[in-house]
């Protein structure tokens, strides 16, 4: 396991809410994928069943934060300022993946776009656009 993978795993393991959701991150070189295995306690609509929209939003947000932690090593976690989530398809009872693109990192602010998918990356279930406040260096 790479040092970077170990460091990210340690960051996630230190966040109680990330453990509650079961969020993981996988690194392939410098490419980060957020992974959210399906779990019964994530279901928001038991009839379909489908993941709660808030779970998908939270997972997208955590993937964005992990991507920022990978490229910007700061003492504190980035804090979301404003996020927009667009829901494209229901999140089914299976593993969800997400990739983030950092569009800009300034001294204080970062802008990140994230896309989540399940069966096919070409059929995203949700997207997120967000600004984060970065801890001072």
């Amino acid at each position: 396991m790479s040092d970077r993978q170990a460091r990210l795993d340690a960051v996630l393991a230190g966040i109680p809410y990330a453990r509650f959701l079961g969020v993981q991150v996988k690194l392939a070189g410098d490419e980060l994928t957020g992974v959210l295995p399906f779990a019964q306690h994530l279901v928001g609509n038991p009839m379909l069943p489908a993941l709660h929209g808030g779970v998908i939003g939270a997972f997208l947000e955590m993937t964005a934060m992990a991507q920022l932690a990978l490229i910007e090593q700061r003492a504190r976690l980035p804090r979301p300022i404003g996020v927009t989530v667009e829901y494209l398809r229901p999140g089914r009872a299976r593993t969800t993946y997400a990739r983030a693109q950092v569009k800009r990192v300034g001294r204080r602010i970062a802008n990140v776009h994230v896309e989540a998918w399940q069966d096919a990356r070409s059929a995203p279930i949700a997207t997120l656009r967000a600004h984060f406040l970065l801890a001072s260096q």
Binding site: P16, E61, G82, T84
Partner: protein, 153 residues
């Protein structure tokens, strides 16, 4: 013959009856006219930053998404399947560690297909919000969503 349950009777179940809302410990705080208030208790296992003890942004996201949905049903005064189209949240300040988080929402416009909702999250005082949200929901989604789901491999 028993009449179908009213929306008022269904609301506590809609607020906290799904596995995820139950796991988060959501409680329906009140429905006053078309304004719905939902509470998320503070819990150590929902903290987003262990250095500060502040609840994760995702808890506020889920609380706001959910209370917006409840406000749609309150405005309709009946249950229909709905789905969030988009959700925009401004996080104005960190929630205070140790305090429950409240979400309060009102659906201010209903069309045949879409509902428009605004919501706030606060801890101590509704006039000093932690976060603000606006959302749009699709109404009566069961048929098209299950068709879309069925079309997936």
């Amino acid at each position: 013959m028993a009449s179908p349950p009213s929306l008022k009777d269904l609301m506590p179940q809609l607020a906290a009856g799904a596995p995820h809302t139950h796991a988060l410990g959501f409680v329906l705080e009140g429905v006053e006219g078309d304004v719905v208030t939902l509470r998320a208790p503070y819990r150590d296992d929902l903290v987003g930053d262990p250095e500060t003890g502040v609840l994760a942004g995702g808890v506020a996201t889920t609380l706001l998404d959910h209370v917006c949905g409840l406000a749609v049903w309150a405005a309709l005064d009946r249950f229909v399947p709905i789905a969030t189209l988009d959700l925009r949240i401004d996080y104005m300040r960190p929630a205070e560690p140790g305090l429950a988080l409240f979400g309060r929402a009102r659906c201010y416009r209903l069309t045949r297909s879409v509902a428009f909702v605004r919501a706030w999250a606060y801890d101590r005082d509704a006039d000093d919000p932690v976060a603000a949200a606006q959302a749009a929901f699709m109404l009566n989604t069961d048929r098209e969503r299950s068709e879309a789901a069925g079309a997936e491999p």
